[in-house]
Each structure stands twice: as C-alpha cells, then as structure tokens.
C-alpha cells in the first residue's frame, strides 16, 4: 500500500463521478449535511444508526454489515470512495470498518467534505437509488482492532498514541471542544501514551500532510518507535481511525490497531491506571 492506493484528491473524485463500480459514500455522525447537498451520486452512511449496534456498545456484526451494504446497493467488487465532515473522522472510521470486514477496494477522499465545499465544487440533493446487491463480508480482521485488555497489556510495551487534543490528554476536558463535556467517568490518559493530536496530521483544508511531514511528526517529534506495534485511541475511536489511516495506510506501518472503545471506555473502567497532565 502507498498513498496513491488509498487516497484520492477532489479532482480525481470529480472526474470519476458516475463511473460504474465506483460507489461514493458520505459518512457522518450527523447526516443532515448530506441531506443539504452531497457529492453527486453519493449515498450516505450514518455512523451511529447504520454502523453501530443499537443495543450493545459495539458496531454491527458481520451479518448486519452484509445486510446494510446489500440494502444500499454496494457489491463486493465495487470500489468504495469514502468522505465526510469533521475532517474525514467518520469517513476514516468507515474506511477502517470496511477494511475490518475485508472489503478489497476502499479509497478515502483527501480533505473530505470540507475541501470539496471550500473549493466550491458541485453538491447535489439527488438521492441515488442503487439496486440491491448480495454483499458478503469476511470475518472481522482482529489485527486492526484493539480491545481493552490488550490496551492495558500494551502499557509500557507498545506505542500508545492518544490522538485527542492536549486539553483532553491532560485531563482538562473530557470531549472535543465542539461537544458538551460529558462522557467518561474520569479524565486523563493511558500511562505511557504519547499525545499526537489527529489534527497535526491534517492541513487546514482537511487534506493529509505529506508522508515526510507525517514521518517527522510521529517518529521525530513524538519519538514513536516505528519498530514497535502501535495502538491509537481517542474518545470514541473516530479520530483515532484518522490516525490509524495515517500510520497503517499512508505510512504503511504493519501492526497498527485502532482502539475504538477509546477514552469513553478506558476512562470508565474500574481499577486501571490513569495519568494526568501534559505530554512528556
């Protein structure tokens, strides 16, 4: 994998609108943006309603994912091009999710919805109707997802990358500053975690920084040992999916997992170690 295999720019996307076997998908937590206007031909996925289990805290199982993609008209052979708001947080999460269930051809639109909007490119309110398919997912790829016991065991051994803002890392906030401050029972971060806010990997227009800049950011500035396995986490696993994409897909590091339980799980666990204060 390299950048050109996984990431496309807005010009490429614009030129390929309407291609057979390319399904453009907008993914967001709040899908009202899609309803107001989206990239022509794009369908939508609602991060919460479509991708999360309605009862348990987990995402939809293999059968549920198969039913969802079949109903939305996505085939196993299709190339899925993902984009969304929030600098592609939820689109990156969906990318990780599609990979987890073994979809072969997945792309992310560099800059997501923001770059598209700031470029004043065409938005459409037409909702495409795609014929139903019979989608088959693979079993979840456990090499991409970290669960809590593995995270606790990784303290002091693997790279732990906390991609939240410095205020969340230090324990001054429990959520990003555009959300109400509620969630985990305790604030702080996992001991030995490095703080590399996801935003440092992105330019102001939402596009990713260059590979050289990204290497310098993680390996240079944050002293991450690229020879070790890595687990990324944030609050609910969407910003860390953005960093997972950078480390695993753009920089091609072999063993990188996203901890989607993230701080809302870890910060509510009884008895686990927590550190407060600035990054060291």
């Amino acid at each position: 994998m390299s950048r050109s295999d996984v990431l496309v720019d807005a010009d490429w996307a614009e030129a390929h609108i309407g291609d057979p076997n390319l399904v453009i998908v907008e993914v967001d937590e709040d899908t009202s943006a899609y309803d107001k206007g989206h990239i022509p031909t794009a369908i939508k996925l609602d991060w919460k309603k479509d991708l999360q289990d309605p009862v348990r805290r987990d995402f939809v199982d293999k059968t549920g994912f198969e039913a969802l993609l079949s109903e939305r008209g996505v085939s196993n052979d299709d190339t899925v091009l993902l984009y969304g708001g929030n600098n592609n947080w939820f689109a990156a999460y969906a990318y990780w999710y599609f990979k987890l269930y073994g979809h072969d051809k997945v792309l992310l639109l560099d800059g997501g919805r923001k770059k598209w909007e700031l470029d004043s490119r065409e938005l459409s309110t037409d909702v495409p109707q795609r014929p139903r398919t019979s989608y088959t997912a693979r079993e979840q790829d456990a090499s991409l997802r970290a669960l809590r016991d593995e995270v606790i065991d990784a303290i002091g051994k693997r790279n732990l990358v906390d991609v939240r803002s410095p205020d969340e890392f230090a324990g001054r906030l429990l959520a990003p500053a555009h959300l109400p401050q509620e969630q985990a029972q305790r604030a702080g971060h996992i001991p030995t975690a490095r703080n590399v806010p996801w935003s440092k990997a992105a330019n102001e227009d939402g596009t990713f920084r260059s590979d050289d800049e990204l290497r310098q950011l993680y390996e240079g500035d944050a002293s991450l040992d690229f020879g070790k396995d890595t687990i990324a986490y944030c609050r609910i696993g969407e910003r860390s999916a953005h960093t997972w994409f950078v480390l695993h897909e753009l920089l091609d590091l072999p063993n990188v997992k996203n901890y989607d339980g993230s701080w809302t799980e870890y910060g509510s666990l009884v008895g686990v170690p927590i550190e407060l204060g600035e990054a060291r």
Binding site: E117, S165, P176, P197
Partner: protein, 101 residues
C-alpha cells in the same frame, strides 16, 4: 476577556442558565449582512494549536464548549475567505463572537 470589536459585548454574554458549568464560545458569521452557511469555524490555542472545528449552521452560527482560557477563532469559507478573532472563555459563561467576512 477580550472582544473583537465587531459587536460582541465586553466580557461576553453572562448566561449561566445556558452555559451551565460549560465554557461556551458561540457566534454567527455574516457577509454583506447575510448569514454564511458554507464555511467552518475553528478554535485554536497557543501557537495555532488546533482545538476544535465545526461547520457553520444554516444561520451562520457556531458553538464550542472550550476549556477556560484565551483562544483564537478562525473562520474559513469558500473563495479563500477567512477571518480571525481573539476570544476568551470561562466556565459558566457564553462568550459571543460574531464575525463579518
């Protein structure tokens, strides 16, 4: 608490009922008297450190739940339009920052 000279009252709007224990920063973005609904508001810390970003609402509005302190608000809109305002936030207070592009 600083203001930007574009209409926000000095010290922000004290509205404990709305802010509760939160440090709220909110406002609207307009251009030639009309709401700017396509655009983004970013809250930045010292040294341009990214804190948060929201798309502008249909009425050009934005809202952040910040930590107390001094921040920079930056607005981005299509056509390369941008603006920056200093803003100070504190718990239990809604700090209002309206921006004209």
């Amino acid at each position: 608490m600083s203001t930007d000279g574009c209409g926000a009252p000095a010290g922000g709007v004290s509205a404990p009922a709305a802010a509760g224990s939160q440090a709220v920063v909110e406002g609207k973005v307009t251009r030639d008297g009309a709401a700017v609904s396509a655009g983004y508001a970013r809250l930045l810390g010292t040294g341009d450190e990214f804190v948060a970003e929201v798309p502008l609402g249909a009425d050009g509005g934005f809202r952040f739940f910040a930590a107390p302190g001094s921040w920079t608000l930056r607005v981005l809109a299509p056509g390369g339009l941008r603006a920056e305002r200093p803003v100070a936030a504190d718990y239990g207070r809604v700090t209002r920052v309206d921006v004209t592009l």
